[in-house]
Amino acid sequence: MKEIKLTDVDEVIYYDVCDNGLPIYMWPNNKVNSFYITLTAKYGSIHTKFKLDNKSKIYEVPSGSAHYLEHVKFNEPDGTTAHEYFAKLGSDVNAFTVPDYTTYQVFASTEFEKNLNHLLDYVMTSCITKKLVNKERGIITEEANMGQDNPYQKLMYSFYRNIFKNLNYRIETIGTLEDIKKINEKDLQLIFDTFYHPQNMILVITGNFNPYEAAAMVKENQKKKEFLPYRKPEFVGEKEPTQVVKKYEEITGNIGEPKIKVGLKLLDSRFKMKDKIKLRIILRMIMNINFGVTSEFRNELLEKELITSLNSLVYFFQNYLIIDVTSQTKYPEEVTKKIVAKLENLDVTEETISRRIKANIANLILDYDDIEYVNSNIVNALIYDGKITNSYKKIYESITMEDVNKVLKLIDLKHMSIIEMLPNEN
């Protein structure tokens, strides 16, 4: 057992690994009553093409397969469901699929061992039949229909489709309605056998429990399980061009007021900053200072009654980063021009940077109040950064104006995409 000391917040994350390769990350907090366990497969909705065993054959599954498998996984070989098992314990069980991974979760306050063992058992046991796959199809189709009535989802995926030509972030996590019809038990079995393997999964436990006892329970559980040999999957995708697909698009939706998104597509390598976490922090601070609640620009647009909302996000998609500025406005054309002009003239001062750093450091402390939030932070750190960072404070304190100005200079608008969503005419 190793200890990862989080010096900023005086907390410890315990790390251990099973003989079969399953890593276990644990943050005990004995001040709370409950515990939260997640088992994550590093397989999400973007992973539709892959190679196995270092061979050249490419396997392809329909879009939406990761999410479909998440639904089917709740069935158990004896004809019951995982929901039924956890209901008997009074636990809250669920799962979710995002572009990069699929997580199965359980919340409870008693019967730690039973909850832990059964989460490992039902997720890691295969139970995929034609009948069960067909049973889920109607439910998933209704879930997809629900998404079609969500204008924000429509706007977001239209935006991604205008930015990415090949990256699968452009396709809805749930998949297209055509692909949902096509998904079969063979696709799901292939995914399960390949990706639901201890070497491709992460177990994270947070809350009230003893980490030494928990690690021993997990190891004992895994000893009894047999897995197919790990096939070293390698995801395949066509190279993503640096250009955006569409520079401008106007769409309509069942909305009350127009919404716009201005997006910049940037290769992260252009910033020549080895520490990607530091780059992410700097970019988010720059955008927050220029478009967030403390920005003069936002205040001015509000006072001139040009907008009712404005916010910005920075996402990392593999080797690209996307800057996304979103607004609700009655004057989409004029506000778009102003946002573009602002993006051309981003500015920060020492004062604004040091205020943001102070605010972010306070957040580090507050983050460690919530077992769900800490669990999800650990999963995200492992998936996106490949490691747990033991001092974000050090990173914040290492940021200089020189670093910030260097990043600022390299943000350009060459690959920009704008989308406007206008109300349906009816």
Binding site: V93, T110, E142, E257
Partner: protein
């Protein structure tokens, strides 16, 4: 956890001392009776405007900078309709001062909300027009955006169709017409009413020296002398001899079905405990609940179906989004599930699972400072038990009590929002 009450001439301070959390949470709550729907919009407008500016901080930007300098404290105004009462609350979240080196941090962070509330951005008995318009535009957008969420829209319309004179159907957001009637001077009158006539209390939770907290608050919050009052929270909605059925049109892929039921003459125990056990088995629980089982698992009619218990409105509401053609079958299955509940067609195992689930949910609530404070608040205002007592009491609910409650549920309205409907 240590609960304590401090009384002043004009308000009470309720404190919960616990070392469970690094965050501290405070709520300044003003309460008033709701007489007409536009009261809600007035208070909602006011909560947004007060929390977004003041004389010394004339814009949200200025307040946000002040909050960032207080180690990212968060301050915001919210409204909640609780039966016949409107709560206008100002909430503050801040990091425990023991993690901060600045000596005066606690005083500075606690002073800020009172400074903002007591010094509104007003000139000549009118709110500043620029900030007034910013908030007005935001609310107008929110009203116009209602149609972006078909489920929320359907619920609002269903309650209006049930009885538009009932407080239950009053919307906090109001209408564009009601919004246009509000002016900077009319809103200032509402502000004076809030400060001078509303009942006010303060609730705070954290690992703090609560005597010191109470002193800082009383030093900085000089309110008129209006003692905390009790308000009637419960709304008795009318029943119908025959359910009212109505269909409306909407431009959506999925249809929405809402079934509203009256809960007739429930006792306090039934309202606080028995109906919750009923609802978990019926429809507000896991995939094993009857509604989820019949509609989703056995027939694949929908992704989700929920049954919501509106305690202070004495209503139960079933909501499901699905294809229009599936509505008749869904209604049949919902009726079947309720019918089974009235006949006791559920197992002792269902009862056991429900009670275990509730015990576990209470444990989860005890891990969240806002939930603990919320429970204490309704312990004071609505006489509900504290979380630890709820854990004990829920275990005493018996199957025959659940059957009895099921027989007190009467269908009132069936509302459908469909694409291309009647």
């Amino acid at each position: 956890m240590k609960y304590k009450k401090y009384e002043t001439k004009s308000f009470n301070i309720y404190t919960i001392k616990t070392d469970k959390f690094k965050n501290c949470h405070m709520e300044i709550i003003f309460r008033d009776e709701v007489n007409q729907e536009k009261d809600l919009l007035n208070f909602s407008f006011l909560a947004d405007l007060i929390s977004d500016c003041s004389k010394n901080y004339p814009s949200r930007r200025d307040i946000s900078i002040a909050l960032e300098n207080l180690y990212n404290a968060r301050f915001y105004g919210v409204n909640q309709k609780v039966g016949k009462t409107i709560f206008t609350s100002f909430l503050l979240d801040f990091v425990n001062p023991k993690y901060i080196t600045e000596e005066d941090y606690l005083t500075n962070v606690l002073k800020l909300p009172f400074e903002i509330i007591m010094n509104p951005y007003v000139k000549d008995e009118e709110f500043d027009i620029t900030m007034f318009n910013i908030i007005k535009n935001r609310i107008r957008t929110n009203i116009n955006n209602m149609k972006e969420d078909p489920t929320r829209l359907a619920i609002n319309h269903a309650l209006k169709k049930m009885d538009e004179t009932s407080v239950t159907s009053y919307r906090i957001l109001g209408t564009i017409e009601q919004l246009e009637e509000i002016t900077p001077s009319s809103l200032y009158k509402v502000y004076k009413h809030l400060i001078n006539d509303n009942s006010c209390d303060i609730f705070i939770i954290g690992d703090l020296d609560m005597d010191k907290v109470a002193k800082i608050i009383t030093d900085n919050f000089k309110l008129r002398s209006v003692k905390s009052k009790n308000f009637e929270l419960s709304v008795e909605n009318k029943t119908r001899k025959k359910p009212f059925t109505i269909t409306e049109n909407g431009d959506y892929v999925q249809a929405n079905l809402i079934m509203i039921y009256n809960l007739v003459n429930l006792s306090e125990r039934e309202k606080n405990y028995v109906i919750r056990v009923f609802n978990f088995i019926f429809g507000n629980g896991s995939l094993n609940a009857k509604l989820m089982n019949y509609l989703r698992e056995e027939n694949g009619l929908c992704y989700g179906v929920s049954s919501m218990y509106l305690k202070r409105d004495n209503l139960l509401m079933v909501q499901v989004s699905l294809e229009k053609e599936k509505i008749p079958k869904a209604m049949k299955l919902i009726k079947k599930a309720l019918n089974e509940m009235t006949k006791g067609d559920f197992t002792d195992e269902d009862m056991d699972e429900t009670i275990k689930y509730y015990t576990s949910s209470v444990d989860l609530s005890l891990d969240n400072e806002v939930n603990i404070l919320d429970n204490y608040l309704f312990h004071i205002y609505d006489n509900i038990d504290l979380l630890e007592d709820i854990k004990k009491e829920i275990k005493t609910v018996k199957k025959d009590e659940v059957i009895k409650v099921a027989n007190k549920i009467k269908l009132n309205t069936i509302y459908t929002l469909v694409s291309g409907g009647e």
